[in-house]
C-alpha cells in the first residue's frame, strides 16, 4: 500500500465527529468518529448490532444524529433527508435491499432521476439502455424491463449496486453488499470500486468477511456496542487483531464439525426435476450427517431446497422422508413430517417484520405451544428466551418488533424460529449470511451438535470455508444438475471450484 493511497497525507473528504444516536433506551451510536479520504476504501467492522448500519443511515440522511458534527470537503454538512445526502454526492447501498417490487428494474435504479426527453417526459428507452450499460460494467445480465419482484437476493443486491454506481458519487457507502454474492461478482464489484477510488471517490465498505475487507480497504475502523474502538491502516492489522477488537476476546476454532456415526437415511431425493430450473437431482441425507450443496449463485441450489420443502412445485421425481413419500407442493405436510427450511430471503420468507422477536421466534411452533387452541404467553416467552439467548440475539427486549433489530440479529431470529420446531431434517440456506464471527462459530457449533443428536442437515452455502469445514459430504451443482459428489476427505477448494464452474466433468 503506497502512502498516498493510504490517504493519511491529504485532508479527509468526509469527517464524522462524535456522532451519537439513540432509539429510545437503546444507544446505537455513542461518540463515533470516522474520516474518509479521497481515493481510498475504508472498512467498518463490528459485531451484529454494533451500530454499523445505523452509522450508514446517519450518513445517508435517513437518521438524524442526536449530536455530533459532519463535514464534507471542510464544509459543515447537515442532512435533512436522503435527498440532501444524494445532492451532496453520497450514494448508499443499504444492508436490506430497498427495491420497489412492482416497478421495473430500470425504474428502480433511476427512480426520481429518470432520463428525460421533450416536455420533461421520461425516456424509457434511454433508461433501459443506461441500465444495460450499468449491468455490463458489473458483468450481469438482468432484463431491465422485468419487475423487481421475484429477483433472487443476489440479483437484488446487484441492482442496488448498479443504482449506487449510477450516481457517480463522491462518497460510496456499501453496507454488506457482498453478503449474497459469489466470488466473481465480488471481484467485479471491487474492480468497479477501485476504479471509482482512482477517480477520487471515497468508499466506505462494511462486511463480516475479513478476506474481502483486507482485499479492498486501506483503513479499518472497528466498532463495538455503538462505540468507536479504533481506526488503523489495514497493513498494520491482522484478522485476529481485528476480531479481538470487535468481540473484546479471542474467538477460537471456527468450524468445529464433530465426526458422528451415520444413522438411517432420513431424506431421500430421487430424480427431482423442474423444467428449466433443475433436473434429475438425486441424493440422500442420513441422520447425523451434514450435506452441503455448493455451486454458483443461480445454479439452482435454493430452488431444489424450496422444491423439497414444497414451497415450489416440481415436474418429476420423488422426495421421501424416512422412507415415506412426501406429498409435493405442500409445506405443511413437510413441517408435519419433521422438516424445516431456513430460507435465503429472511425479509420475504422468514420473518414478519412488524411482529415482536418472541412472536417471530415461535411462529412456526404455535400449534405445539398452544393448549386447547389458546396460545399461552408464558410458554411462548420462555421458549423464545431460550433460543434467543443461545444464539446471542442482541435486542433491548423480546417484545421489540423484529424490524428494529440489526440485520445479523434478524438472521438469528430466523434460525431460532426453525430450530425451535425441533425438526428431524433441517434444510438451511446460507445459514450465516450477515452473521458476525463470534456467532458464526456458535451457529456452526450448534449445527454440529444438532447433527450429533441425529438430525439430517442439508446446508446451502456460498462460503467455501463454511462448506469445507462443516460438511460430511459436498454435492456440487452446476446449471441445475448435481455434477459432483465429494466426501469430506476429497473436498477441497480446487475440487469444489472445478465442479462448480462446470469443469469437473471434463477433468
Amino acid at each position: 500500500m503506497s502512502p498516498d493511497t493510504d490517504g493519511t497525507q491529504t485532508s479527509p473528504l468526509l469527517v464524522l465527529d462524535d456522532i451519537t444516536k439513540s432509539f429510545g433506551a437503546v444507544a446505537a451510536l455513542r461518540g463515533v468518529h470516522l474520516a474518509l479520504h479521497r481515493g481510498a476504501a475504508h472498512a467498518l467492522v463490528g459485531e451484529n448490532g454494533a451500530g454499523k448500519s445505523t452509522l450508514v443511515k446517519v450518513l445517508a440522511g435517513a437518521h438524524a444524529p442526536d449530536s455530533g458534527r459532519m463535514t464534507l470537503d471542510g464544509q459543515p454538512l447537515v442532512l435533512r433527508g436522503p435527498a440532501d445526502a444524494r445532492a451532496a454526492g453520497i450514494a448508499v447501498i443499504y444492508q436490506e435491499p430497498t427495491l420497489f417490487p412492482d416497478l421495473s428494474v430500470a425504474e428502480n435504479i433511476f427512480m426520481g432521476r429518470q432520463p428525460l426527453r421533450g416536455a420533461r417526459r421520461i425516456d424509457s428507452r434511454a433508461m433501459n439502455r443506461a441500465t444495460e450499460r450499468l449491468f455490463a460494467r458489473l458483468g450481469v445480465r438482468i432484463d431491465p424491463t422485468r419487475p423487481a419482484r421475484g429477483l433472487s437476493i443476489a440479483d437484488q443486491q446487484l441492482v442496488e449496486i448498479a443504482k449506487a454506481l449510477s450516481f457517480d458519487a463522491r462518497v460510496l457507502v456499501m453496507d454488506e453488499p457482498t453478503a449474497a454474492l459469489s466470488g466473481v461478482e465480488v471481484e467485479r464489484l471491487f474492480g468497479v470500486a477501485r476504479s471509482l477510488c482512482e477517480r477520487g471517490a471515497a468508499v466506505l465498505f462494511i462486511s463480516h468477511r475479513f478476506d474481502e475487507v483486507f482485499d479492498l480497504c486501506q483503513r479499518i475502523t472497528v466498532m463495538r456496542d455503538g462505540a468507536w474502538v479504533s481506526s488503523d491502516p489495514a497493513a498494520d492489522l491482522t484478522v485476529d487483531e481485528v476480531v479481538r477488537r470487535m468481540v473484546g476476546r479471542d474467538v477460537s476454532s471456527l468450524y468445529p464439525k464433530q465426526d458422528t456415526t451415520l444413522r438411517d437415511t432420513l431424506l431421500d431425493v430421487r430424480g427431482l426435476s423442474r423444467a428449466g430450473v433443475f433436473s434429475d437431482v438425486s441424493f440422500t441425507v442420513h441422520g447425523g450427517e451434514i450435506v452441503a450443496l455448493a455451486g454458483l449463485v443461480g445454479a439452482g441450489r435454493s430452488e431444489v431446497a424450496r422444491a423439497i420443502f414444497g414451497v415450489d412445485r416440481y415436474d418429476a421425481g420423488q422426495v421421501r422422508v424416512a422412507g415415506r413419500v412426501l406429498r409435493p407442493g405442500n409445506p405443511r405436510k413437510a413441517i408435519a413430517a419433521g422438516m424445516a427450511l431456513v430460507p435465503e430471503d429472511r425479509r420475504q420468507q422468514g420473518l414478519v417484520m412488524e411482529l415482536s422477536v418472541e412472536r417471530n421466534a415461535t411462529l412456526a411452533r404455535r400449534r405445539a405451544l398452544s393448549r386447547l387452541g389458546l396460545l399461552l404467553g408464558g410458554a411462548e416467552r420462555a421458549e423464545a428466551r431460550c433460543w434467543t439467548r443461545r444464539l446471542q440475539v442482541k435486542t433491548s427486549r423480546l417484545a421489540a418488533p423484529v424490524a428494529t433489530l440489526s440485520g445479523g440479529n434478524q438472521q438469528k431470529v430466523v434460525l431460532a424460529k426453525w430450530l425451535a420446531t425441533e425438526p428431524r431434517i433441517l434444510i438451511i440456506d446460507e445459514p450465516t449470511r450477515g452473521i458476525d464471527v463470534g456467532t458464526k462459530a456458535e451457529v456452526h457449533r450448534l449445527l454440529s451438535e444438532l447433527a450429533g443428536a441425529g438430525l439430517a442437515i442439508l446446508m446451502i452455502s456460498s462460503e467455501l470455508p463454511e462448506v469445507l469445514g462443516m460438511a460430511d459430504r459436498v454435492l456440487v451443482m452446476h446449471e441445475g444438475r448435481v455434477v459432483r459428489e465429494l466426501p469430506r476427505a476429497e473436498a477441497d477448494e480446487t475440487s469444489v471450484m472445478f465442479a462448480a464452474t462446470g469443469q469437473g466433468a471434463a477433468a
Binding site: F100, M111, G112, D155, G183
Partner: protein, 353 residues
C-alpha cells in the same frame, strides 16, 4: 476469494435475454396489459350476451345512456386510482361530490347569470379544497387515510345537510346552457363521456411519463424504500388527495348538469362503487400497481352490468350479488396472475432471467 460461486453472469451469457424478436414493451408493462385485456374481454362478452337476448341493447340511444351513465364513475375512479396507487384510500369522494353539486346549484341561484365555465372552475376549486383538507389532516395526524377520510365523509356530508336544510334545487333554477352540457352529444358521444376520456388520458399519460407520476407507484410499492430514495412522500400524498378532491369536484359539477335535481343526499354511497371499480380494474388495494385505464374499464364494466341486468329484467337484488362476485373474481384473477408471474420470474431467475 474463497467462495465457490462464480456468478450468475457467466451462465447467463449463453442465454441472452434480448433476441431480435423481443417486443418493444417491457415485461412489467406487458403484465399490466394482460390485466386490461381481460377486462375488455369480459365487457365484450357481457355486451354480446345481453344483445343476443335483447337487440335493443346496442341501439344508439342505449349506448348513449350507457356512456352517460358511466362518465361520472370513470372520473371518480381515475382520482381514486391516483390515491390507491400510493397505498391510501379516499372514502370522502361521495360527500365531496354531493357538496360540490349542491354548491353549484346554490351558485346559480345566487347569481343566475354565471357562465357555466365559471361554475365548473368554482366546483373544481371547492372539491380541491376538500381534498386539501383531507391531505392536510393525513399529513398532520399521521393516521391512516382510511380513518381520516371516513371522518371527512361524515363531515362534508354534514356540511351539505346543514347548508341544504332540507331544500331541493331543481333544473328550473339552473341555466339552460349548463343543463345542455349534461345531455349534449358530439357525433353521438355524450360530452360528459368525452370529458371523462380526457381525464383518463391525461392521468394515464401523467402516471406513465412523468417522474412524479412514477414516484406515486414507488410510494405505494414500498413506502420505506421511497423515503430512503429521497422521494418527498408526504408532499406527493398530499398532492394526490388534493387532485382527487378536485376530480370529485369536477364530477360534482357534471352531476349537477346531468341530473338537474339536487338535494343534500346526492352521491351518497358512491365511494364504495368507485373503490369497487378500481379493484375490478386491477388496481392493487395495497398500492404500487394498477392503471387508470384499468380502473376506467372497471367503472364501465360495473355500469354496463347495471343496465344489462335491467334489460334482461333481472331482480336488482342480483345486481348487488353480481357486483360482489365480480370483485371476488377480479381479486382471484389478480392473485392467479401474480402467482403465475411469480413462478415464471423465479424459474427464469434460476437461469438468469
Amino acid at each position: 476469494m474463497s467462495r465457490t460461486d462464480t456468478g450468475a453472469s457467466e451462465r447467463v451469457a449463453d442465454h441472452p435475454p434480448s433476441g431480435p424478436g423481443r417486443p418493444r414493451r417491457g415485461l412489467t408493462e406487458r403484465l399490466l396489459a394482460v390485466r386490461e385485456l381481460s377486462l375488455l374481454i369480459a365487457l365484450a362478452a357481457l355486451i354480446l350476451v345481453t344483445t343476443m337476448r335483447n337487440d335493443r341493447f346496442l341501439s344508439a340511444q342505449s349506448i348513449k345512456d350507457l356512456l352517460l351513465g358511466c362518465a361520472i364513475l370513470v372520473i371518480l375512479a381515475v382520482g381514486q386510482t391516483l390515491v390507491i396507487v400510493t397505498r391510501n384510500v379516499d372514502l370522502s369522494i361521495g360527500s365531496i361530490l354531493g357538496l360540490v353539486a349542491f354548491a353549484t346549484g346554490e351558485l346559480f341561484l345566487a347569481a343566475p347569470g354565471t357562465p357555466w365555465p365559471v361554475a365548473l372552475l368554482v366546483g373544481v376549486a371547492l372539491g380541491g379544497l376538500c381534498g386539501v383538507v383531507n391531505g392536510g389532516l393525513i399529513a398532520v395526524a399521521k393516521v391512516p387515510a382510511l380513518v381520516i377520510t371516513l371522518g371527512t365523509l361524515y363531515a362534508f356530508r354534514g356540511i351539505d345537510y346543514y347548508w341544504a336544510a332540507g331544500r331541493q334545487i331543481n333544473a328550473a333554477d339552473m341555466p339552460r346552457s349548463f343543463l345542455r352540457l349534461g345531455n349534449q352529444t358530439v357525433l353521438g358521444v355524450p360530452v360528459l363521456f368525452l370529458v371523462a376520456l380526457v381525464v383518463v388520458a391525461a392521468a394515464g399519460f401523467y402516471l406513465r411519463s412523468y417522474r412524479s407520476g412514477r414516484e406515486l407507484y414507488a410510494i405505494g410499492s414500498e413506502p420505506a424504500a421511497a423515503r430512503l430514495s429521497g422521494i418527498p412522500v408526504g408532499r406527493r400524498v398530499f398532492a394526490v388527495f388534493a387532485a382527487n378532491g378536485a376530480l370529485a369536484g369536477l364530477a360534482g359539477v357534471l352531476y349537477a348538469a346531468r341530473f338537474g335535481t339536487l338535494d343534500a343526499a346526492a352521491g351518497a354511497g358512491l365511494e364504495l362503487q368507485v373503490v369497487a371499480a378500481a379493484v375490478v380494474g386491477g388496481v392493487a388495494i395495497f398500492g404500487g400497481s394498477g392503471s387508470v385505464y384499468g380502473a376506467a374499464l372497471g367503472a364501465v364494466l360495473l355500469t354496463t352490468i347495471g343496465s344489462s341486468l335491467a334489460v334482461l329484467r333481472i331482480d336488482p337484488f342480483w345486481q348487488q350479488a353480481v357486483v360482489g362476485a365480480l370483485i371476488l373474481a377480479a381479486i382471484g384473477l389478480d392473485r392467479l396472475l401474480a402467482l403465475r408471474t411469480a413462478a415464471r420470474l423465479r424459474g427464469g431467475s434460476a437461469h438468469g432471467a
